[in-house]
Symmetry: C2
Subunit: 244 residues, 2 copies
Amino acid sequence: MQDHVHIQCSDCPIRHRAVCARCETDELSQLEQIKYYRSFQAGQTVIWSGDRMEFVGSVVTGIATLTQTMEDGRRQMVGLLLPSDFVGRPGRATAAFDVTATTDLVMCCFRKKPFEDLMATTPHIAQRLLEMTLDELDAAREWMLLLGRKTAREKIASLISIIARREASLQPRQPKGMLTVDLPLTREEMADYLGLTLETVSRQISALKKDGVISLEGNRHVSIPSIDRLLEEAGDDSDGGMLV
Amino acid sequence: MQDHVHIQCSDCPIRHRAVCARCETDELSQLEQIKYYRSFQAGQTVIWSGDRMEFVGSVVTGIATLTQTMEDGRRQMVGLLLPSDFVGRPGRATAAFDVTATTDLVMCCFRKKPFEDLMATTPHIAQRLLEMTLDELDAAREWMLLLGRKTAREKIASLISIIARREASLQPRQPKGMLTVDLPLTREEMADYLGLTLETVSRQISALKKDGVISLEGNRHVSIPSIDRLLEEAGDDSDGGMLV
DNA sequence: CGCGGGATTGACATAATTCAAAGACCGTGG
DNA sequence: CCACGGTCTTTGAATTATGTCAATCCCGCG
């Protein structure tokens, strides 16, 4: 569970996208000294809402989710964390949301106090964190439009295009043939993302398949014959995607 | 429309809550030099989504909203801006959302470029902005739970308690008798906040009134006999409010 | 006094949920 | 290798919350 492998920051796959993206080599070596890796198995909880948060960190590989749960069990995902995304809030003692590994997960962690100290003296870290937080806020606001106003079909189409976009931005490999994506979430997790039930998710995926908007191989692997068609179904403004 | 009144920062009502909260007197005087006030009438648009954003700034008095609109006219509010809230995103050229004054509004503005330059040399501003952005992100995530999983009745109860909480935090006056709040939004604006139609908003407000959870004087003024009862109706965890 | 923009209320339509059953997929162990 | 069990997924039928369309009401204001 607790790996002690130590990758050089310079070799890190998220070096140029994470909180450390803007750091100079000397700043990086300071981070290097306080970092440690942790691995989590798929399904494992990283932090429980309300727990004391002893570390912050970045997702290196794998996928994690941020969720909120009501007393009666209704759940809403409020964050989908891909490699390079930051977990935790400097200056806050306890976690506000549950963080769960949905795939096997490796995180690059910093104990909170040393990280905060370093942040105070290293503007490049704070700058990057501000930038990332503003991006997340924008994403949250798009997500709010989805939750508040889109139909179930539009929600599904939106989710697939969001995943396609994020996948494309992570691997600089330009898709040669038809665009394909792997859904990193179960139907239930998609439902929690979209504010739907898992049955509705399943029905709408079937409907999109029947209408030729997507095709499936297995439950997770999606092919997209026309990204424009998909974006249209998502109800986004024509160029909202920026994909391609 | 374009006021040229110039308030001293030291006399500013939002001095200790806005982006400038952490500034020392010398930093404040630098801000003082580049700031200017602008007034907007109720209903007026401050910025259109997609427009070039030539300024950033803080709400001084009044209320503004951030909204997103789909091609077919569906609208979702994604931000409710009260005094001290920040508008605009340093480092971004065009606005991502519509900003509208819902009451008469006074903003303390900074042209974007000078503000960004100042931010680069004044960590106190960037620090405070990060803190505010993280708070907004948390609020957005609570809002996502509301949009995705709460019933219409819970949404209304949540909105009223959110407004009560924010009003309470703005005026340090502890409420002596029964808690009362003024809804700063029309039924339609509430609907856009909550992802509902205005008819459903109206019906649920009537229902809460009939059940004694709230009482109304006029359309805007709400009295809350029991804040605990209201929070219960909102579906929030018992102590979610922190009010009182 | 009457106008007009909100707001309320009613009747009906419908998208999404709920409850239930059956099917597919995947790893495990015989 | 195949059978088994469990989990995830699909599909169906009935229910319900919310949306839609439309009429009326209310209240502040010229």
